[in-house]
Assembly symmetry: C2
Homo-oligomer: 378 residues x 2
């Protein structure tokens, strides 16, 4: 099977780029002795991809849903952090994974939930791991390092039967709004110092706090040092996207996924080409609108993945993508015939990949060398 | 099973509202004698929903992907319009449905594709239906009613072996940008007259053109008359969403789907509540941004579906929704406890429903009375 004979739209993974991205994360990790990696698998959602990302045994991973946790556990991943604040109603489902031998860790930022977890865990044979989520950047969830609740929550969790209070974790999602690498490095330091400071406060209160987990793709890649940190999490770094390019985190040539589409129409009077990849395939999500490098849904390349300068998906309907030139220049309709194929690099890899149930993996050339499954849902 | 014990996020379908929406479409249809209905199933993507939408035998339906065509055909739908311009590479897959006894109709707006279809169809046992897509509003695809290509394409399709040239179809997608019901009615007339005018031109050229198919939810519901039209297509009308409310097409109380979410965090200092429904569950798509009634991802209701005035999902990450008050008023944290449940009405029903593999169907009260499957992918 080659790219010309695949059904469209299909999700293409460039294996050489993917491996280079994985290598880059490991190379950065070598600069931070004492820090281990817990890749966030919410982006790839694929055990085949995870096997290349988690190179030294299928252990530490991060997930965003319990469906991901179950999928990766069934496929041999043994140590999973569920990085979305736990709701008490989800504990029994998590407990089934723990009973099956998986080391599961949840995050909490609420004293009531911490008490619910402690109560639920009492008397259980295998402990549940718990981390306190720290708000290091005002982005979303967590308790601030200075919050008086921090010690109360740690106290509710520390040295309790059935609970393995592991430490603190944070995610500097605000790094997606940074304008320069220096700003990202500053955000990385804010993330690091916030998490380390929170851990130190807990320790000073006499409660053991071993792990300090940080991570976003931009902050991990541009952190100057990670003193006091024990674990880093990255997700989108393995695939990359136009948002990461806009942030200066990667080049266009590092984006490992694209959507293969077929040209289904010419609108010559409007200087537009219609393809069979709309928002259902491309996603309307733009993870950091302020960082867009193109005011649309994706950048257009030929079937070989080589970018066609100036061409982008301007807008989309459910199954129609509307391509034109960003600067209004006349399209080369003869070179882009109806029935021809294009590849579209997405704004947000996590969102675009989520529309598909599998990756078609290519190396150099057009041949599809593997099909990697993806999980979905909750 | 009731709403309090479902896993979250889940997609909830209010059956009473759905039936009322279906009834409304049929009531409008009665005002247009001679027009038959070909519901667009790209919104519901569910045979269970389709059985209530296509009341009098599982015949005429519209789809947006071949996967939908195959799914609905396997479940007994016999007459399917694939309403996205056909690519020649898709004909063999369409042919397998025709061979299985399904009446399949494709749309074309390109002379080259029309010739490819004719060539492909020659000698086949059962004919392929073909319609010419008319661009009645400059929205996306199609040939304009006056375009010289119109007759050339009709000539390439008319009276050809294996081809059943059915007629013309159009979709006034620009109706989603209208500001008033009068503007929608004007757009409906533009849609109708464009399609009827194109059919008349084809007939004057001596080519039979029986069907004139029009439709968008706004134009169908507010068309003053449909003289010369034989078929109408609507999709989102059965579920409705905030975009349709913003357009004045329906009320908030007519939105039949919502996303059930659990409150997983309080950010009291930021006046925010965090829920476990992010953009993965809600979708970032907003089908008509100019028609937003709320500058966010959804309007918030209690577990019974009753809207909590002023509350909305302001922003979202992959699995986190950030809820606050639209006017900055202080949230009632005590009334919205961590672990509690909310329902979120979406901007765009087609996009939000696409994140889920099933609907949890409720009538009055909290009990889930049925689970309706959905199809997905291509």
């Amino acid at each position: 099977m080659d790219l010309a004979s695949l059904s469209t739209p299909s999700l293409i993974l460039d294996h050489a780029r993917f491996r280079k991205n994985v290598d880059r994360v490991y190379a950065k990790l070598l600069r931070h002795p004492g820090v281990s990696l817990r890749p966030h698998l919410k982006t790839v959602k694929s055990i085949d991809a995870a096997r290349e990302i988690i190179r030294y045994g299928l252990n530490k991973a991060t997930v965003s849903t319990l469906q991901e946790a179950e999928y990766f556990a069934e496929n041999g991943v043994t140590d999973i952090l569920y990085a979305v604040a736990a709701a008490p109603a989800k504990l029994d489902r998590i407990g089934r994974l723990i009973d099956a031998g998986v080391r599961m860790c949840v995050v909490v930022d609420d004293i009531g939930v911490a008490r619910s977890v402690t109560e639920w865990a009492r008397g259980r044979e295998r402990p549940i791991g718990v981390m306190i989520e720290i708000d290091s950047d005002g982005h979303r969830s967590g308790v601030t390092p200075e919050d008086e609740k921090l010690i109360k929550i740690a106290d509710a969790l520390g040295a309790k039967e059935g609970v393995d209070f592991v430490g603190v974790m944070t995610h500097a999602g605000e790094s997606y709004r940074c304008k320069t690498r220096e700003a990202i490095a500053d955000m990385a330091e804010r993330e690091r110092s916030g998490a380390v400071g929170a851990a130190d406060r807990i320790r000073r209160a006499g409660i053991a706090c071993n792990e300090v987990s940080v991570g976003s793709t931009p902050t991990f890649l541009f952190a100057k040092h990670l003193e006091g940190v024990t674990e880093a999490r990255v997700g989108v770094a393995y695939l990359n996207d136009l948002t990461m390019t806009g942030l200066g985190v990667c080049g266009l040539e590092d984006i490992a996924i694209s959507v293969l589409a077929t040209i289904i129409g010419h609108q010559r009077d409007k200087n537009r080409i219609i393809v069979d990849a709309g928002w259902m395939a491309l996603s309307s999500d733009c993870s950091a609108p302020s960082q867009r490098i193109f005011a649309g849904l994706g950048v257009v390349a030929d079937i070989g993945g080589r970018i066609i300068p100036g061409l982008g998906v301007l807008s989309a309907n459910q199954e129609h993508g509307i391509i034109s030139s960003a600067d209004g220049g006349a399209l080369d309709f003869a070179g882009l015939p109806v029935g021809g194929r294009l590849r579209i690099y997405p704004n947000h890899a996590c969102a675009t990949a989520a529309a598909f149930r599998e990756y078609k993996v290519v190396t150099s050339g057009d041949e599809v060398v593997a099909t990697w499954s993806r999980c979905a849902g909750w």
